[in-house]
Symmetry: C2
Subunit: 368 residues, 2 copies
């Protein structure tokens, strides 16, 4: 299912391959986020052109709209969206925490009101597996409880225990092994509880492990510390996924710490806000200095947007609130993120990852 | 420059070819509208895939934002937008009439306030030519005065006379003949003034003639009457363009009356509102009866959207306000319009236009 192909000789970075029902994912991999059964503004063809191997979709959103039974009847999420490569679905734990109103979490599950129409719902670990099986997602995630930051010890303890109990129930609820199932390590910013969470979950039989509850407002250093602390507990044979992370620097730091999978709304959401990632840092396209700038966003970028359009045109589209702006910006940002992952995979293969990492930071300092 | 290739034996429908600086346009042709230097939501590649030979852009909008001098410095509108096929630019007469505030029209030109920031501007026939030459549009339109509907005789008379004077000044203002220049026939709903307008303009030396001031709120029958009346005055060697028209029925009726060119925001704007054109009439995609409908929009359509996505998915995207909805709907609608034009061109070539026209209406009655 998961195979480590090679390792960096001077650190935990590794190059792997994850086998799913809809094909291979070369790792380390970044997953573009397609919350509502679409990566905003893009077609599957464009996603592939950007280098996407796998996308993430959201159980919470699809359960509420259009409904998992409808998607099942229509042949599953792949057929519904015309995306034929792997899909990972987030369990909804984070969305209940961040989006839903009036949520109440007890041992049984989570009761909450929909952010769309206020209707009342209950998600249990069992229902979340049922939904993900109905969607036909290649990698399912266990329902977890998200712990706010900062949190007191009792909240962290309860969150960790509930997450483990729910993980166990998720395993029992699955009806087959074609779809992979990952557990989510919680534990807030506590080493004690992170250790407890990961060890408890490792006693159960999952296909992979995610480190959740990061990128929730904590300082960057603390996030890296938690990855540094948690990662070594997870045996080599499992793929390790850090959820909701991050900016390009976080991807480089994550890979250097032995992380195999990432997802984040950053490239797509920031694209829609006109913030574009480049090899020399980021630019804000509406800035007036780009008004007559005939250069592409990033001169060394080979994406569709950079091959065809000037900063001046992209600024015009953005200022004029044209739909094409969202799309061209999204293509560029995703291409940048996915290209960065490709480069890291190549660097690990040739055992030059540390040199790559240094170069990555140097470019940002020199070219501005 | 313009060549009639063949004619329908049972009516004025004709098949032609218009040569421009950026290539041939096979007529009858429909021009998708790209108001602000983009056909909303689509790339040039998609426009071509939909069958677009030529697009329309707007002098008024581009003059205000980003400015024609900027576009000139960046190599012209084709380079700016990465669209390498012909572009026709509307003169701004209609936009001053419909969008700008505080407009005052005198013999010299039109003074108005920008709909974007309220700034004060003056457009003259000479400046409008200068702008269009700066943009590098393949077909320029003379600044005209748009006559509201209904209008009294004095307003119509003034509008017609001013339009003719401005057309004469436009001819003098152009600096070369690489870019074609079309005049716009006005005259409200008056045969007397339509005749006067077209005869006056025909005495001047234009590359083509447009029938303007239609589709401004008048009954459909009156619009066809005005085309019926005006069209025969224009000699065979000129391309004839009806501006701002129309729905599919209008295109069929226009072609059957010997019209060569059309433009309209209908396919693109209605797409964004979820109204989709099909061979059997139109559908409103957000309708709940499409919720679980696994069929494409139109089973006989070969567009990208129909080849890949169900009505259920398109409804979901539309209801969820996803950006991809605007795009997939626009692709379908434009493909439908442009395919309709292709079919009409083919029907004229094989001298089966009247049969085609009957079939067009029959399909709408039978399949619902």
């Amino acid at each position: 299912m998961f195979q480590v192909l090679c390792r960096s000789s001077d650190g935990p970075a590794r190059r792997g391959r994850l086998n799913t029902a809809h094909g291979m994912v070369e790792t380390p991999a970044f997953m573009p986020v397609g919350t509502q059964a679409t990566v905003k503004a893009l077609t599957p063809e464009e996603l592939k052109e950007c280098g996407a191997q796998i996308i993430l979709s959201n159980t919470y959103h699809l359960y509420l709209r259009p409904g998992h039974e409808l998607i099942r009847e229509l042949g599953g999420l792949h057929r519904f969206t015309a995306w034929d490569r792997p899909i990972l679905t987030d369990s909804g734990g984070f969305q209940i925490y961040s989006l839903a109103a009036l949520r109440k979490v007890d041992e049984q599950g989570a009761v909450f009101r929909s952010h769309i129409d206020g209707s009342l719902h209950r998600l249990t670990p069992e229902l979340v597996i049922e939904i993900q099986e109905a969607l036909g997602s290649d990698i399912m995630m266990c329902l977890d409880t998200c712990i706010h930051y900062p949190a007191d010890d009792m909240d962290v303890k309860n969150g960790v225990n509930l997450t483990t109990q729910w993980a166990e129930r998720s395993l029992k609820a699955r009806t087959g092994h074609d779809l992979l199932l990952f557990a989510i390590v919680q534990g807030g910013m506590s080493q004690t509880w992170r250790q407890r969470s990961v060890l408890d979950l490792l006693e159960l039989d999952f296909d992979g492990y995610a480190i959740g509850g990061l990128s929730v407002g904590e300082p960057k250093g603390l996030m890296y510390d938690m990855i540094d602390f948690t990662r070594p507990f997870i045996p080599d044979e499992y793929p390790v996924y850090v959820m909701g992370v991050g900016i390009p620097e976080d991807l480089v730091e994550g890979v250097s710490r032995g992380i195999d999978m990432f997802d984040c709304v950053m490239p797509t959401r920031n694209a829609r806000n006109g913030m574009l990632f480049t090899s020399f840092g980021h630019i804000v396209i509406k800035n007036s200095r780009f008004k007559g700038d005939s250069r592409p966003i990033d001169p060394i970028c080979t994406c569709y947007t950079c091959k065809n359009y000037s900063r001046a045109y992209l600024r015009h589209l953005f200022v004029a609130k044209e739909l094409l702006a969202f799309r061209l910006n999204t293509i560029h940002n995703l291409h940048y993120f996915l290209h960065l992952m490709r480069e890291m995979r190549k660097a690990i293969e040739t055992d030059t990852f540390e040199a790559f990492r240094k170069g990555f930071y140097q470019k940002r300092e020199i070219i501005k």
